[in-house]
Amino acid sequence: MSSSSQVAESWISSFCGLLGHEYFAEVSEDFIEDDFNLTGLQSQVPMYKEALEMILDVEPEDDDDEDDEEDEEDEDEDILGDDKPTGYRRASDRRHLRMASDLSVIESSAELLYGLIHQRYITSRPGIQQMAEKYELQHFGTCPRVFCNLCKVLPVGCSDTPGSETVKLFCPSCLDVYTPPNSRFQTVDGAFFGTTFGCLFFMTFPELEIGTVRQSAAGAADALLAIQAAQKASGQAGTALNPLPLTINGISPSNLAPGLGPGNIYEPRIYGFRVSERAKSGPRMKWLRMRPVDITDLDETRRFWDGREGGGSEMGDEDSNMADAVPGQAVDRRKKLVGRRRRTNGSGGTGAVGGAVGEGGSPMDTNGVGIVGA
């Protein structure tokens, strides 16, 4: 192992070639060799130096303790190239002996280190690009949800701390996460992909068309009916929808959870009759798959709360990005985003994390590709 043979695969490509490692990108050596990218990892990985050497396929350096230890295993010399200086060879042999006992420790340290570097790499420009290529080739599979029409998914972690959860798949069409279909991924640590990558990816490539075409005409007709019904219900029948903003936080409205909303929500029926919400077995989870017909409703929600509460401080600039296509209106809205988070009701289930990050969180720019684990 200590000898990187000239033809053999690199450690990185053999690691990525292992069964179950299909989601990993091959981190470039340039990235690993830049110490800045490894900041803070030393304390997280046992036998850090050895692990790093293993990943980079470098011969262990001559240590100060390179002394006259008799080399018992001469046969190992054959493996080593003949061009190496003798002293070096000895050190390698000695390390070989040590590694025989520690090899499994170093190997697992190397995997941990690689994973942690990987988490950072895929939020860097070259890394996210590499993941985009894998995404396009559908290396991560598709969403199992029927109404997502085989939308391509992305590997993510639900935690940035290794050892807490296995890798999951994030679907941009329903904004939900799923367990990979194959059990071989259930040994892959989610932290090696991290919590930031999923959303960062779609903000980095806003032009990616994640919506999928409806498969059948019947489906489209259903959706149309459902949309009309929803419009009627919200008292908008007859009035045209607000013109769609060009972007919502840098995301085109057609790319905001296209798998949700009218026509994409399961309606339970018995012999053709809808099961009432009031039945004990009635539907309770439709909200999870809802989406406003008129996407600017997401803004009107704010107006509602503003109207109720008023006063307080300005929210800062972030929120004005909600619908920034109509500059004039955006300014108006900005004024109304006041004290909304004060409310004690409600949106609790969702609000906290998303909200905290979204509004209270650091106002760094969306172009922050390359921000690594905070």
């Binding site: 929210m315 990005n321 949106s347 289930g349 909200g355 990050v357 509004e359 969180g361």
Partner: protein, 259 residues
């Protein structure tokens, strides 16, 4: 297709049905009772749906004794499977059928929900149509009330009409004790250092829809069906909200103002 040799008379066991439900890919089917199959009333109308209806029925009930060539044999075999599926859709909404499917559900024979927040909730097979050859079988999760594609391609080719649009909803109506508590825990897309993400706004909007549904249910004095921990979760989050993103936080400069 596996060969089934029905030359071996019908003694007392259901050879063909045993073979059918234990065949790879047919894990979603339960065994239809002999009495149900032999009661013509239960098969009303199926004679026009199935080619070689009588032979197919004979095969399914192990009384097939036609001497025919392999092609014919194969056609009848195919018809028998179709017939079994069509009867199956009717059978699984009977008392006996529901009980059998419930047992399979409890064993997890139909797989688990792939949605992370559903915590391995067992699924039920269903069809999006009751008309055969419309769409393949899907899986229903009673926790998130959504539909999923089967993982395995051998299941993805089974006709959804063999399970139908009503069965899974009837099952929970008949066995309400098996309705899983709903959860409002959900995935929150997070990005360190990001501006408001549209997903967060959508999430809040959805949560408002959910709360108004809960209000409707409370007014109608109907249980909401959400797991208890949710209530605690909510109050905790309210505190967080105020600490992290409340107006005070802004006043104290936790978030730089840009205006």
């Amino acid at each position: 297709m596996d060969d089934f040799n029905s030359e071996t008379d019908s003694d007392y066991t259901s050879y063909w049905r045993d073979w059918f439900i234990s065949s790879r890919g047919n894990e979603y089917f339960c065994e239809i009772d002999e009495e149900y199959l032999t009661d013509r009333f239960n098969l009303t109308g199926l004679n026009t749906e199935v080619q070689y209806y009588q032979y197919a029925l004979d095969l399914v009930t192990d009384v097939f004794d036609l001497d025919c060539d392999d092609d014919m044999r194969e056609s009848i075999e195919k018809s028998a499977r179709h017939l079994y599926g069509l009867v199956h859709a009717r059978y699984i909404v009977t008392t006996r059928g529901l009980a059998k499917m419930l047992e399979k559900y409890k064993k997890g024979d139909f797989g688990k929900c792939p949605r992370v927040m559903c915590d391995q909730q067992p699924l039920l097979p269903m069809g999006q149509s009751d008309v055969s050859n419309t769409s393949p079988v899907k899986l229903f999760c009673a926790k998130c009330e959504d539909l999923y594609n089967p993982k395995s391609s051998r299941h993805a080719s089974i006709d959804g009409a063999y399970f139908g649009t009503s069965f899974h909803n009837i099952l929970f109506q008949v066995y309400p004790a098996f309705i899983p508590p709903k959860t409002q825990r959900r995935y929150e897309p997070r990005v360190f250092g990001f501006r408001v993400h549209a997903a967060a706004a959508l999430g809040r909007w959805q949560a408002e829809q959910r709360e108004s549904m809960k209000d409707r249910l409370k007014q109608a004095r109907v249980e909401t069906g959400f797991e208890e921990e949710d209530e605690e979760l909510e109050s905790e989050e309210d505190v967080d909200d105020e600490m992290d993103a409340g107006p005070e936080a802004f006043e104290h400069g936790a978030v730089p103002q840009q205006q």
